[in-house]
Subunit: 237 residues, 2 copies
Amino acid sequence: MRTMSPPVGLPALAETDLVGQVARLLTEAIVQGRMPPGSKLVEAGIARELGVSRAPVREAARLLESQGLLVASPRRGFFVRQFAADDIDDIYDLRLCVERHAGVLAARNLTPETRDALRRQIDVLHQTADLDDSARQVEEDYRFHRLICEIAGNRRLLRLFDDLASELRMVIGLIGRLYDDPHEIARTHEPVLAAIEQGHPERIVAHIDHHIGHAWREVGRLVREIPPIAVHVKSPT
Amino acid sequence: MRTMSPPVGLPALAETDLVGQVARLLTEAIVQGRMPPGSKLVEAGIARELGVSRAPVREAARLLESQGLLVASPRRGFFVRQFAADDIDDIYDLRLCVERHAGVLAARNLTPETRDALRRQIDVLHQTADLDDSARQVEEDYRFHRLICEIAGNRRLLRLFDDLASELRMVIGLIGRLYDDPHEIARTHEPVLAAIEQGHPERIVAHIDHHIGHAWREVGRLVREIPPIAVHVKSPT
DNA sequence: TAGTCGTCGATTGTCGACAGTTTAGTCTTG
DNA sequence: CAAGACTAAACTGTCGACAATCGACGACTA
């Protein structure tokens, strides 16, 4: 009798994963603000819109639930997660914790190739700054930070970063525009990279603290300014 | 003026959340090693055993998938996650990152009550050490570390800790017994608490590093000793 | 008129069924 | 005897259906 070989993490050849596709679409809709926080996810509606039955939609919703983008309220359905000011603080606090660590690890693993990748991404940030495309700017910003986590070489850390980023994208999306001066933001990434190249843990942490701390304060301020997050949407509590 | 039904202390009616119950049972079975890593989750089997249909089982499986306890292999089903030595390193690395941060935050938020709670938990650890109940010992150990994360006051950080703990319990469960001298382990928690009471971030980090680093090396060694866990298991019983 | 109760449409939770795929076991062939 | 082909059983992915429940609205009462 042969032992059945369990999955070993190779990229699935055929992307026939319906649940995965639905999950991706839902995630997109949520972080882009098309499904605002507090709004109800009507299973039948989504299913009809996508031309599938409710089963895959519910399974996808469970994935997002475990990821924190949706909250399940028994017998009332799934609702898009709402963020209070506390949540912003929790997220940024954790992000700070994660990125500090990632920065130190990245410095340890840095190769000429990965260093160039980081530099190129800063170039992209500068180029994007001219486009006046806020969403794109935020996206490229995250890509830089994500690169650091990739270089750190801890897959679980990377996944955590992605989860946090989803939530932050969602918050930032509903704030509207974030950057007053995209070029300024692009520049503030440079000392972070410089510190990583130098390799002094203390300097790395200090610069990351400064960089992310700034975003934290900025987002926190905006969230507190616009506390009534809309809306006529039905909330689960 | 609105006449809301005045709260009369009724214990929120029994959780009829079938999916949640199934998820809890599956989690338990996995971390206890009754469903060994690599084994296949046969939906119909689980469903029959629990007296439900496959739909709730699949939804529960999606929750565990997003949590990392199961991996989905399209058209082949769900499998209990397998851990390689790399995974152990990733998990402990992240845990270290998280607990350092939690320790510093906990020191900042420490009150007489929370300090006493930590002390009491160390007492429990010493008492449990006499029982020669390895599983219980591991559980109480985690409870101490979890307390620190609770005191830190970041809900997302706490959830992350719980997720990591699930995975670690699973690994430790299949290693078998971990503690040579439970009393020794209990004692090693004391300097951590002392550092938190003192409140010097550097001391806190240093002691947590020492404490968790020790576990990391120990578990890593054991995992490398028993590398490939051959799986002939087709379905859990 | 404010608050409560009853009714009805809308939605969720769960189930059983079916088609298509994977797996295990057997047989064939070089 | 090993490797490959073939067959049957087992399993997954998805669907549609149905009962239970929720939320909204209007009728009723004090």
